[in-house]
Amino acid sequence: MNKCHPLANLALEQTIDKILNQTQKEIESSIKSALNDTTQTLDDAIPKLGKEYDKIIADGKKEADKIEKQIIGGADIEARNKQLLALEASVDKVFVKALDQITNNDRSGDYANLIKSLLDESTRILGTSEVIVSANSKDRDVVQSTLSGFPGSELSSDTIECIGGVIIKSKDGAMTFDNTLDARIERLKPLIRKDIAAKFGVGN
């Protein structure tokens, strides 16, 4: 076995120390540089993080606003619809009651005047008094007595189903004018509904 010279050992040790020192320095420098890089990266990330944070918050707020709008909008519509249905039911009740009262009204007194004005209006619109007049069974007598003022007119033998008033037809059958109370109420229904709704405090 060969033995090394002591000087050779010393040189070897020195070389090793040198390498160790150099390596240590390199490692320290790398660590320092890595530390700097990391610090820099962190520093750079902070504003990005801030932006990202703000974006998430803003998106979340937007989403929350959207959901709030959906919930409130939906609830408002639902409540309004229920109110509309309730109002309509009440309006219908008022209508039924009013129609009942009109149907059962006494046919004496002013009613003859009403029939006369309905006949006046109808013959004026048709442009002739050569007409056939139809009425319901309750009104036939009143209508018959009023027709004397309308030469050429005659009362139809058929009766009609209505709460009152007359239907007038030209004798050739080409023109008809519905002047029953039902038809008049139907034509004015939107305005009557508005008035009834106003009594319930809607639409004021």
Binding site: K62, K66, K69, Q70, I71, I72, G73, G74, D76, I77, R80, N81, L84, L85, L87, E88, E121, I125, L126, G127, G173, A174, M175, T176, F177, D178, N179, A183, R184, R187, L188, P190, L191, R193, K194, A197, V202, G203
Partner: protein, 461 residues
């Protein structure tokens, strides 16, 4: 409205397409409403188109299918068609003739308004100049809509214009003001699924409470389509000029309206104009489009976004052509972008808003809006030229600056143009995105923006 009714005539001379000719009519007026009663007692509505020589020509809205000469009666109601209006119409869904379609009763009317509207006194018109935010970047940023404007969307069949229409209806708002805003949505001849989509979309987003919907579906009689935009605009005018609201009217699809007009014109044996449409198509369209605007001394406004599908994507077709003469710009939906899956596929190079310049800038949107928008237009236009060049010489043959413009084009389409259907971008977000695109260019390429804005907003990548 009076209690006095109208005369019913039972002599029907002829039934021709959607028209009924009534004989021995002594007094009828042009546009008068007519109730047609079938032999089965079914009632349909119509209006008088012509009167004379003891005859009246009546256009039946619900069509003449099932009508016969004997037994059919026509009652001339003695008034024109009216729409009951009140604040109660908000949140309601109506059919194409203005009848409730949501299972609720008729709205309690504040008043009854002639659906043909009253022409706006030109002298009383106020120039539109206030911004409406749609939440859609490409519209807000590059073809800004202003209150009182009429800005149509030109699309093609099968493209995503209905998604866009619904998105605008859901998101549109007046920024920074407490003024009331409402949307009137008129769907003309749309498929049932589309009508449902519009209704559900507004309902689920909570926007229904400030909207009124008029839905005429494809299976509804074509003639009803003549009425749908008119009832919608009548309600819009009431909300705007009686209640002081800012109203956005979205009408889709005006092509179906013009088709219905052609059908009636053919039945009346009128001399056809281009592609069989009546010669008065321009005049007729103007009676609808000109109902948009603002009036001096009145608080509200009516803004219109009519949507029309161009047959064969042909922008020279009479409908887009004549529409373009009347309206103040156009938004063109592009087939190429649509095929690439871009939503909204708006071709900005064919689109413009003529009133944009007055509705943007400091105090409306932001000081830099006009200039950054010009720069984006310019950059995207260059990008398209470079893309065409790359198609010939290949990407390798392009210069560095050409490649930058190509990148700008891609970013524009992917990040700015592309937007989710439920994404509501504020005008600030839109402008920031525009600066992001502009910032992809070297500073010396920014030639359309003042230095002070470049210094403030430009962030070179």
């Amino acid at each position: 409205m009076t209690a006095e009714g109208g005369v019913q005539y039972s002599k029907i001379a002829e039934i021709k397409g959607p028209l009924v000719v009534v004989d021995d009519v002594e007094s009828a007026a042009f546009d008068e409403l007519v109730e047609i009663e079938t032999t089965e007692g079914e009632r349909r509505l119509g209006k008088v188109l012509e009167v004379g020589n003891g005859k009246a020509i009546v256009q039946v809205f619900e069509g003449t299918t099932g009508l016969s000469i004997s037994g059919t009666k026509a009652k001339f109601v003695g008034k024109v068609m009216e729409m009951p209006v009140s604040k109660e119409v908000l949140g309601r869904v109506f059919d194409g003739l203005g009848r409730p379609k949501d299972g609720l009763p008729d709205p309690i009317a504040d008043k009854f308004v002639d659906i043909n509207g009253e022409p706006m006194n030109p002298e009383q018109r106020e120039y539109p100049k206030d911004f409406i935010q749609t939440g859609v970047s490409v519209i807000d940023g590059l073809m800004t809509l202003v209150r009182g404007q009429k800005l149509p969307i030109f699309s093609g069949s099968g493209m995503s214009h209905n998604l866009l229409a619904a998105q605008i209806a859901r998101q549109a708002s007046v920024v920074g003001k407490q003024d009331d805003f409402a949307v009137v949505f008129a769907a003309i001849g749309v498929q049932y699924s589309e009508a449902e989509y519009f209704r559900r979309s507004l309902e689920e987003s909570g926007a229904l409470k400030r909207s009124v919907l008029f839905l005429n579906t494809a299976d509804d009689p074509a003639i009803e389509r003549i009425i749908t935009p008119r009832v919608a605009l009548t309600v819009a005018e009431y909300l705007a000029f009686d209640l002081g609201m800012h109203v956005l009217v979205v009408i889709t699809d005006m092509t179906n309206y013009a088709e219905a007009l052609r059908e009636i014109s053919a039945a009346r044996e009128e001399v056809p104009g281009r592609k069989g449409y009546p010669g008065y198509l321009y005049t007729d369209l103007s009676t609808l489009y000109e109902r948009a605007g603002k009036l001096n001394g009145r608080k509200g406004s009516v803004t219109q976004v009519p949507i029309l599908t161009m047959p064969s994507d042909d922008i020279t077709h009479p409908i887009p052509d004549l529409t373009g003469y009347i309206t103040e710009g156009q938004i063109v939906v592009g087939r190429d972008l649509f095929r690439q899956g871009v939503y909204p596929p708006i071709n900005i190079l064919s689109s413009l808003s003529r009133l944009m310049k007055d509705g943007i800038g400091e105090g409306s949107t932001r000081e830099d809006h006009s200039e950054v928008s010009n720069q984006v237009y310019d950059a995207y236009s260059r990008a398209q030229e470079v893309r065409a060049l790359a198609g010939i010489v290949g990407k390798a043959g392009l210069t560095e600056i050409d490649l930058k413009y190509m990148d700008v084009g891609d970013t524009f389409e992917k990040e700015f143009l592309t937007q989710a259907t439920d994404e509501n971008r504020t005008i600030e977000e839109t402008l920031d995105l525009m600066w992001k695109i502009v910032s992809k260019l070297p500073r010396n390429e920014i030639t359309k923006i003042k230095d002070k804005y470049v210094e403030k907003y430009y962030k070179e990548e």
